[in-house]
């Protein structure tokens, strides 16, 4: 190990060594190291390349504010993660880290040519060029820009990890486990409240971890919290977003720090609802803005202190400090005492208090007041700094191998801002601090602007005698935004800080401006000659730090992405070779092919058997709602277009449901069980929508009605028996119901038993054949199905799926809402005017049906189509025209909504919405396809058994 590791000290476990690689080179660290501290200990200063100019970069910070040291970690197949901060990667045995955004190597990066040409790429350069010739944008310029941009490589394989999510509730949520957060948690815990304390780092303690004097207190406090049953302490957990009503999203990283990740989830999303939120997020040190401030080896003083006192690493052998704030002095003194070699303290101020100076002087550190760093020598590492008096005189060079910056502090108000808390500017701090918020939240410690780091003068760019347009003085390190860029934006007329941010991209990098926002603001304020308070601050957006998609998606992946609803008969269908289709959340058997059959052949057979013998169909997915109460009939009368009050118990009615705009939204056959009780059915896809709509009306429009709505969709299995032999199959199995046509006519319902199971037996038909729909409690669904199959054996019973169902209903001209209607179709358009109770005082959508356009001629109306070529099955969605020779754009009359081969008719049939369609019977129209136009004739939708003779048997 190289000589940057201090002989002792730090919170690392020197007994536990960790071997790892960086760009293939082997290194060693200790348990408790981050990748940044371990590499610094190994003498590495060059960590990465910047976004735009590909400038060599080192580590700037020691925590989540780090903009520069972005690293890819490869944990094997499906476990590659780009853009991780070296300061947040815990070193484990076998860690394989690589640098990014460089080619062919980190030291020698060809794209660094951008830096030499930097003068041609100021802020907003791409707005001004790449416009000529026009066609080069997609073919040449944009691909080149895209290749140049981006940080790390993307993952290319499916992630092998999984993620978890959970909910938590507490009276008090403390975010940030530094001294202020820990004290707040202790206090809340002592009153018996449920407390959750979260911190993004691997250990609680925050700034106290860089201050050995506080370690005994820290140990005691953590022990107290750990022993309190009402306290949950979550480390490696980032509270990333603050949402309405004290709802906080946090993500806990569970395995990224482990050599053996085991089988558990990689991360866990915590959705926390808190009575009170205490923000103790601390403050982030501000870099100083001067020429060369991005050279590897230039870093925040607080970060260097953390490396020294927490990780036992010296960031250099001869370290200089450039300060405008007292805190830097304290940090460098603490480092010197820990054994770090310090060569100079430079402060732009002349009035640094004696107390602050005393300790440095006592340690023999050379002090230079009223002076500033004006340049840095060295490309891949600091070799020396140029220093001058603030008036530009007395220039000199000081040799050093690291330079620390102490530019004052910025309270971390990100979550506060997510909650839309207001901010107040404090001149003394040169920062915004939290003011008021409508959530139950307060800020404590440094994030409230209360700290004991001392005072500081604040300067935007350090004064320098060099011409300012030559200086490469960085504000946003990752995005390569310099002070000059910000001034250029102002010069070009951008006055709002939001514009300046977007024009220069300052604050838009993966660190989201944690170290750059305030510097950018002050430079803009200066350039605009307006106080910062006039300019405002850009809004902070969640997440506080980048969070993985996987954790936010949680368990919702693969089959759990959305539950697949299955009927009780699904298993039987699967065992019998059904091919399924997805409808809403359900999977439904589409057809039941026999060996050697394709869909066409299978569906034809199924259709044939229904018309000739009997088919059996799983209709369990139909939405079902039980409507109960003295006003049930009145309620349905207001919801549906047709009258319900006159319906007798024991009878069914086809119900048509409109939206307020008068267009069809659902339909279904419903039954009156009793004076005050109805059993409604809805379409499969519409079940939730219809229940919500009904509840909405019931609760907001007609709260006076005494009605209860209950979804019973999953309470009943529904088996449809359709075909001339249906009654024969049922008869032997049913008790207590007279099935004879006189006693049990079409559109009736009876309660009784089937195979001993209580049933609501409907006599209804969606096929045009004699039909029954047997409702039984779900648990009996499959048993009954099998019993019916056995009983139907000698009647030729045939299971059929949704495809045959579609064909059979189309032969009868029955609509499928959502296929033959699309939310622009009225009952009249659909030929369902008979279902509109025009005499009713009102129903949902009634008023809209009188609108001028709804009664105007020429509306699209549902009709039947027959192709002149009987073997041609049209494509659903194909458009219809009167003149196939018209040039584009053509006048379209409508489209084909349903189209099938009809086995019953021995030819193709189709349904279509056609302008003025009801008056076009017999007309020839055309379906222009890319290759040719097909001719069709408009006809009635009733293709089969128009009189309904087959129903009334």
């Amino acid at each position: 190990m190289s000589g940057y590791r201090l002989a002792n000290g730090g919170r690392i476990d020197r007994g536990v060594r960790r071997r790892f690689t960086f760009d293939g080179r082997p290194f060693e660290g200790f348990s408790g190291d981050t990748l940044a501290s371990a590499l610094l200990a190994g003498g590495v200063q060059l960590f990465g390349r910047s976004f735009k100019y590909h400038r060599p970069r080192g580590v700037l910070g020691a925590g989540s504010e780090e903009p520069n040291a972005l690293i890819s970690v490869n944990r094997g197949p499906g476990r590659f993660t780009p853009n991780l901060r070296a300061t947040g990667i815990e070193v484990y045995e076998g860690l394989a880290a690589t640098s990014q955004n460089r080619w062919p190597s980190l030291r020698f990066d060809l794209a660094a040519i951008n830096d030499r040409l930097g003068m041609f790429f100021p802020a907003g350069f791409y707005n001004k060029t790449f416009m000529w010739p026009r066609s080069f944008w997609e073919t040449l310029y944009e691909p080149a820009i895209r290749r140049m941009a981006g940080l790390g490589n993307p993952p290319t394989e499916e992630d092998r990890d999984h993620y978890a999510a959970t909910y938590a509730h507490c009276e008090c949520l403390v975010i940030g486990a530094g001294p202020a957060g820990i004290e707040a948690a202790l206090e809340a815990a002592s009153t018996g409240k449920r407390v959750i304390l979260v911190d993004e780092q691997d250990e609680a303690g925050g700034g106290a971890m860089s201050d050995p004097a506080l370690w005994p207190w820290l140990e005691r406090s953590i022990a107290t919290l750990a022993g309190a049953p009402n306290v949950t302490l979550l480390t490696r957990t980032t509270a990333f977003g603050y949402y309405h009503d004290n709802f906080i999203g946090a993500i806990e990283r569970l395995t990224d720090h482990l050599a053996d990740i085991g089988k558990g989830p990689r991360e866990r999303l915590w959705r926390i609802r808190a009575g009170e939120v205490i923000l103790a997020q601390g403050a982030i040190e501000r870099p100083l803005v001067f020429d060369g401030n991005d050279t590897p080896g230039v870093m925040l003083a607080s970060a260097a202190r953390t490396f020294a006192l927490r990780h036992g690493v010296a960031v250099g052998r001869s370290v200089a400090l450039m300060a405008t704030h007292d805190s830097g002095w304290r940090d460098i003194v603490a480092m010197a005492k820990a054994g770090v070699g310090v060569c100079a303290v430079i402060d732009a101020r002349t009035n640094v208090s004696n107390d602050v100076q005393a300790e440095a002087k006592a340690l023999g550190i050379p002090v230079h007041l009223g002076q500033c760093v004006i340049g840095v020598k060295g490309r891949h590492a600091v070799q020396a700094i140029e220093v001058a008096s603030t008036d530009g005189s007395r220039r000199r060079t000081i040799a050093c191998d690291a330079l620390l910056m102490a530019g004052g502090w910025t309270p971390t108000v990100h979550l506060w801002s997510h909650a839309r808390g207001s901010l107040a500017w404090r001149d003394a701090l040169g920062a915004y601090v939290p003011e008021t918020c409508s959530e139950i939240v307060r800020c404590v410690g440094a994030c409230a602007g209360t700290w004991d780091f001392g005072a500081g003068g604040l300067i935007n760019t350090l004064p320098s005698p060099k011409p300012s347009h030559r200086a490469r003085a960085f504000v946003d390190f990752q995005n390569d935004v310099t002070a000059k860029d910000i001034r250029l934006a102002v010069q070009e007329g951008f006055r709002s800080i939001e514009h300046i941010k977007r024009y220069t991209t300052t604050g838009m990098a993966t660190d989201q401006g944690k170290t750059s926002n305030l510097n950018g603001l002050r430079i803009a304020s200066d350039a605009l000659a307006r106080p910062v308070t006039d300019i405002g601050l850009t809004t902070f957006r969640p997440p506080y730090t980048p969070q993985s998609f996987g954790a936010l998606a949680g368990r919702a992946q693969g089959p759990l992405f959305q539950p697949t609803r299955k009927t009780p008969i699904d298993g039987w269908a699967e065992e019998h070779g059904a091919v399924f289709e997805l409808v809403a959340q359900w999977r439904r058997a589409r057809y039941f092919p026999k060996p050697g059959e394709d869909m066409h052949v299978a569906v034809n057979r199924e259709c044939r058997m229904v018309r000739q013998a009997v088919g059996i169909f799983d209709a369990s997915t139909l939405g079902k709602i039980e409507v109960v109460g003295p006003d049930a009939a009145e309620f349905l009368n207001r919801m549906y277009t047709n009258p319900w009050k006159s319906l007798e118990p024991g009878r069914c009615r086809y119900g048509l449901l409109l939206r307020e705009d008068g267009f069809i939204t659902d339909d279904g056959v419903s039954a009156r069980l009793d004076d005050d009780r109805f059993h409604l059915t809805t379409t499969t896809g519409g079940a939730t929508r219809v229940l919500n709509m009904m509840e909405d009306y019931l609760q907001t429009e007609w709260p006076d009605l005494d009605v209860w709505l209950t979804s019973i969709t999953e309470q009943y299995a529904v088996i449809a028996l359709q075909g001339p032999m249906a009654r024969k199959v049922l008869e032997p199995l049913v008790e207590g119901i007279d099935l004879s046509p006189g006693a049990f006519p079409h559109m009736a319902i009876r309660a009784g038993r089937i195979c001993g199971i209580p049933t609501r037996l409907f006599r209804v038909s969606f096929t045009g054949e004699l039909g029954f729909e047997i409702n039984v409690p779900t648990a009996f669904g499959r048993a009954l199905w099998e019993r019916l199959m056995a009983e139907g054996q000698h009647h030729g019973i045939t299971p059929y799926g949704t495809e045959a169902m579609h064909v059979l209903r189309a032969e009868k001209g029955f609509i499928i809402v959502g296929q033959d209607t699309d939310g622009t179709v009225t009952p009249y358009d659909a030929g369902l005017g008979w279902a509109v109770g025009t005499k009713k005082k009102d129903f949902v959508g009634k008023r809209s049906l009188a609108r001028p356009d709804i009664v105007a001629p020429g509306r699209k109306q549902l009709v039947g189509l027959m192709t002149d070529d009987p073997n041609l099955v049209l494509e659903e969605g194909a458009q219809i025209v009167a003149d196939p020779k018209q040039a584009v754009p053509m006048t379209m009359l409508g489209h084909v909504t349903s189209s099938y081969w009809s086995e019953t008719l021995g030819r193709s049939i189709a349904l279509a919405l056609v302008a003025g369609g009801h008056g076009r019977t017999g007309e020839t129209l055309y379906i222009p396809m890319p290759d040719r136009a097909h001719s069709v004739k408009v006809c009635s939708r009733l293709f089969h058994d128009a009189e309904g003779a087959r129903l009334n048997v």
Binding site: F80, N83, P122, F125, Y126, N127, T129, M131, W132, I145, R146, A149, G150, L151, G152, N153, P154, T156, E158, D159, A165, G241, Y243, H244, L488, Q491, E492, G493, R495, E498, H499, R502, Q512, P542, P546, Q547, S548, F549, G550, A553, P559, F561, Q562, L582, V583, Q819, D822, G823, T824, R851, P852, D853, E876, G877, A878, Q879, P889, M892, H895, P930
Partner: protein, 417 residues
């Protein structure tokens, strides 16, 4: 106006970039204008530009309550396409897409319109029917849109998961090759710069607080936070806040304002070549030139003017993205935000005259109006200049909600953006 070009960039670089002028001057309100546009989004700025450029009205002010482009223009996911179902919509959006082509050159500002193709996925039989209906209608309207098999879709967009075992397997896709994305901010800035060069005043930090009307009811001017301004022709283009401004003129508008969220990932090297949208799993995605994956969600459930959305929308959206593109699960969300979108009952815009003389409106673009920016700007300008709608926007009148002549793209199961 200093012309922008590679040459001017080069020569300015040699001079240390000291000579670039302001994109647009910071104008203060004058006492009166020939035309006022309320709302400095892309649509409003575009309208001002076309008023000056095409319709000869140059004494124009754009009044923006905050900073231009700070509304939905600067918050959207910039998907541009024109493969809408109904004739009216197809013509409206295609008018815009035609203007997109060549807009950079027209404005002398690179709006980065990138025709990389917009692909919409079909996951079930209903989706197939709906997308094919669009494709056929588009073909007969002269709008490009083609059907791809799952394999062809994967070839066009390699990260796509086309496994038949997926919860919502990809059964095919509709592709509009002319569709793509542009850079939102540059659209606002480019219009502002070009409009200002023609004499338009771009007035920021100037909220309209009232609409003044004469005895005959016609508009006479507006009240603003920077004083009253006289004007007989006022065009309102304020997206989610339009209904508030309309109420100042005594008009109730059929608009509901919802938060709509979007997010980006950290930037990575090129991995995603086009735009993909899926209505069934509720998500859409592209990759910006900077390398960020740009991902959009559906609207939040509740009406609101708060630009913070709910977390569960983000969770659902990312679950959907990871479902279609499982390689992205280890990517990380960098920034998430919301905008307030103005939604009409039929999900189509309102663009035309209002019952108040001299008051014109352009609103209701909801979740999908960025793509219409040049077209909407041009048509609003036309309508204001001629005091009558252009045939393209004539069907998008306010009256349709009274007479029922809706243009219901949502009902036709089109996707939202």
């Amino acid at each position: 106006m200093t012309r922008f070009s590679a040459f001017s960039l080069f020569s300015n670089a040699l001079g240390g970039h000291k000579d670039w002028p302001e994109h647009w001057p910071d104008a203060a309100p004058k006492p009166a204008y020939d035309a006022i546009i309320v709302g400095g989004g892309g649509h409003g700025l575009g309208a001002a530009y076309y008023l000056a450029k095409r319709y000869g009205i140059r004494n124009v002010a754009v009044l923006e309550k905050g900073w231009i482009g700070g509304g939905n223009t600067g918050r959207n996911t910039t998907i541009i396409r024109s493969n809408y179902l109904y004739d009216e919509s197809a013509h409206l959006y295609d008018h815009a897409v035609k203007l997109w082509d060549g807009l950079s050159q027209d404005l002398n500002y690179n709006t980065m319109y990138s025709k990389r193709g917009v692909m919409m996925l079909a996951h079930n039989v209903h989706d197939i029917q709906s997308l094919k209906r669009h494709i056929h209608a588009n073909r007969l309207n002269g709008v490009d849109n083609e059907w791809l098999t799952p394999q062809e879709a994967k070839a066009y967009c390699p990260p796509l998961n086309i496994s038949p075992d997926a919860r919502h397997p990809v059964l095919g896709a509709a592709l509009q090759r002319r569709g793509g994305v542009a850079r939102h901010d540059t659209v606002a800035w480019g219009y502002a710069r070009a409009a200002a060069a023609l004499g338009v005043d771009i007035i920021q930090n100037c909220a309209v607080t009232g609409i003044n009307r004469g005895a005959d009811g016609a508009v006479t001017g507006v009240e603003t936070t920077r004083g009253a301004i006289a004007c007989r022709r006022v065009g309102v283009s304020a997206a989610g806040h339009t209904s508030i401004i309309m109420r100042m003129a005594g008009l109730d508008f059929p608009l509901e304002s919802y938060p709509l969220q979007a997010l980006v990932s950290e930037p990575v090297k090129p991995v995603f070549p086009c735009v993909v949208m899926s209505n069934t799993v509720h998500a859409y995605i592209s990759q910006s030139d900077k390398g960020e994956l740009v991902i959009g969600a559906g609207t939040d459930q509740y009406v609101s003017y708060s630009q913070r959305g709910a977390l569960h929308i983000v969770e659902h959206t990312l679950a959907a993205i990871c479902e279609i593109f499982p390689i992205f699960r280890r990517m990380r969300m960098l920034r998430n935000w919301g905008g307030i979108v103005d939604v009409t009952p039929d999900r189509s815009p309102i663009l035309g005259k209002t019952p108040v003389k001299g008051l014109y409106v352009n609103c209701g673009w909801g979740t999908g109006g960025f793509k219409a920016t040049p077209g909407a700007g041009d048509l609003l300008a036309y309508t204001m200049a001629k005091d009558e709608p252009h045939p393209i926007n004539a069907p998008f009148n306010l009256d349709r909600f009274r007479n029922g002549r809706l243009i219901d793209e949502a009902a036709a199961a089109a996707v939202a953006h």
